[in-house]
């Protein structure tokens, strides 16, 4: 459960990126966040994993107010949230397997569990057969699948993605959406900022539209609503 109440965010340079956001996202929902460039989508997403703190307002994730938690508690928060970016953020010197395992090693998971979990998620993103490959030996779509595998290897209850298909061609984007739907089917909440009109209009989900830091539209099975 994600809940925001009157969230405002003014960056130190004076830009008001969020201007009074209130929203409620139930466990297991799939939500698109749409809006023009500079509307505040990325800022909205960053609030959820506390990359940025709100200037004012409340952000509750599974009952914890992120505006109040200490910096030292942020790592624990992030263990329950998977994060996916447009640029994959894979480590080029590690294999696919190692990239995914990395996420568990650095939170000191036991080696026995690591092996099992990594193989499970590589199976889910259909890359088990490429476990020994290096990122530069993979297509963009495959790299993004590795990064998704890494985001869910810790079994988070929420996955948030900022333009995950932004760097991918249309065909590959569908593959990625297929993976996200499978993850969502297992009960994981998905929040995805996107500019991909075709995807939003085809795979119908809840749509939250942000413009100039405010929510201007919130529809169940909504439309993209902007000209491409």
């Amino acid at each position: 459960m994600i809940e925001m109440q009157d969230v405002y965010k003014t960056y130190p340079n004076g830009v008001i990126a969020l201007n009074g956001i209130s929203i409620r996202i139930k466990q297991g929902e799939f939500v698109y966040v749409v809006g023009p460039s500079g509307a505040g989508k990325s800022t909205f997403i960053k609030m959820m994993y506390r990359e940025e703190k709100p200037t004012s307002g409340k952000i509750m994730i599974n009952g914890v107010n992120l505006a109040n938690i200490k910096d030292s508690k942020v790592p624990l928060l992030r263990r329950n949230i998977g994060i996916v970016f447009q640029d994959f953020k894979l480590l080029p010197k590690l294999t696919v397997y190692e990239n995914v395992a990395f996420a568990l090693e650095v939170i000191e998971e036991s080696p026995k569990n690591i092996r099992k979990r990594v193989m499970e998620v590589l199976d889910l993103v259909r890359l088990k057969h490429k476990a020994r490959f290096y990122p530069d030996e993979l297509s963009g779509g495959e790299q993004q699948r590795v990064s998704i595998a890494r985001s869910i290897v810790n079994n988070p209850s929420i996955v948030i993605a900022d333009e995950p298909t932004g760097n991918l061609d249309p065909d590959t984007s569908w593959e990625i959406m297929d993976i996200f739907e499978r993850i969502n089917d297992r009960g994981t909440t998905i929040v995805m900022a996107t500019h991909n009109r075709e995807i939003v209009n085809t795979i119908r989900k809840r749509v939250i539209a942000i413009e100039r830091g405010k929510i201007v539209r919130d529809e169940v099975k909504g439309e993209y609503g902007y000209e491409a």
Binding site: Y49, S72, P75, L76, L77, R78, R79, I83, K89, L91, F102, A103, E105, V106, I107, E108, S110, P111, R150, N154
Partner: protein, 297 residues
């Protein structure tokens, strides 16, 4: 911490040492030069201190009793000496005992002094020791005007000179060492900065997936630690071999003087421990500066 985690941190820290080859070399060299100087300085200072202690122990005021003094006068003088402030101990040595000591101190040649045993020209002596050797002169001055006192003798100026020399060496040494310590720390902190920069992608991902700050910092602390500790190896080797050489060279010559050097053991272990510890501190401090500034965790 899990054993696996520890192994991982060790591995990462060593990888960085290799990756930053030249900076690693520069940092270790800086620590080496610094600790070499610290080592030499410590050897000198501690030996001077050791020697000073021995001399101090031997600094005494010899109060010659006037030849005309009666036993009652002597008792009165003794009481007065003991009453002086800052006096630790007063011992009496009769003129016969004094002669005996003289004869012994000359060994074989001393036998000729036996002639004087019949008609002893020496005086009875009170030997006064000050609580603080530096007060020796002051106390001696107070003794001179007392009744029944003949000559008053003491090791005038010896200690003061030694203390002055020690002080100069200490100040110059300290200034140099502090300067070098900062240089070494600065170089180490720069090396760590480069490591942090080279690994920023990894650090970013670690943060995203929820690694704790402590976990992220560990390899950098270890890297700093290695730079400091490896920097101590050469100075320890050089300083200790040099000291053992000098010690063997001087020992026979100094055997019968005040100037006794510190014995090689346990001094060698203590010095090695101090240098390693100092290296470790420089290293960790240097890495802490970088981690605080550039890691913002």
């Amino acid at each position: 911490m899990r054993l696996n985690t520890l192994r991982r941190h060790f591995r990462e820290s060593f990888k960085s040492l290799g990756r930053n080859g030249w900076m690693t070399f520069a940092s270790i060299s800086a620590v080496t030069v610094t600790l070499l100087l610290v080592g030499v300085f410590l050897v000198i200072m501690l030996n001077i201190q050791h020697i000073t202690k021995q001399i101090e122990r031997d600094v005494e005021i010899r109060v010659h009793v006037d030849l005309s003094a009666t036993d009652a006068d002597k008792d009165a003088l003794r009481a007065k000496l003991e009453a002086l402030s800052g006096v630790e101990k007063v011992t009496y040595s009769s003129k016969d005992e004094e002669l005996q000591k003289l004869i012994e101190s000359f060994g074989e040649d001393g036998q000729s002094f036996r002639l004087f045993e019949q008609d002893n020209p020496l005086s009875d002596v009170f030997i006064v020791k000050a609580k603080n050797p530096l007060d020796t002169e002051k106390i001696a001055k107070q003794i001179e005007p007392l009744p029944s006192v003949g000559k008053v003798k003491y090791g005038k100026g010896q200690i003061e000179k030694l203390f002055a020399a020690t002080k100069t060496i200490r100040n110059v040494g300290l200034a140099l060492i502090i300067g070098l310590l900062f240089t070494a720390m600065f170089l180490i902190s720069n090396t760590i900065k480069i490591t942090i920069f080279a690994r920023r992608r990894e650090i970013e991902i670690m943060r995203l997936v929820g690694a704790t700050n402590g976990f992220i910092r560990w390899p950098f602390f270890l890297e700093g630690l290695w730079l400091g500790v490896f920097g101590a190896i050469v100075p320890i080797t050089i300083v200790l071999s040099a000291y053992s050489y000098v010690f063997d060279l001087l020992y026979p010559k100094l055997k019968d003087t005040f100037f006794q050097l510190l014995p090689f053991y346990p001094f060698a272990w203590q010095l090695a421990a101090v240098l390693v510890l100092l290296g470790a501190c420089i290293g960790m401090w240097g890495s802490m500066m970088s981690v605080r500034r550039f890691l913002k965790v």
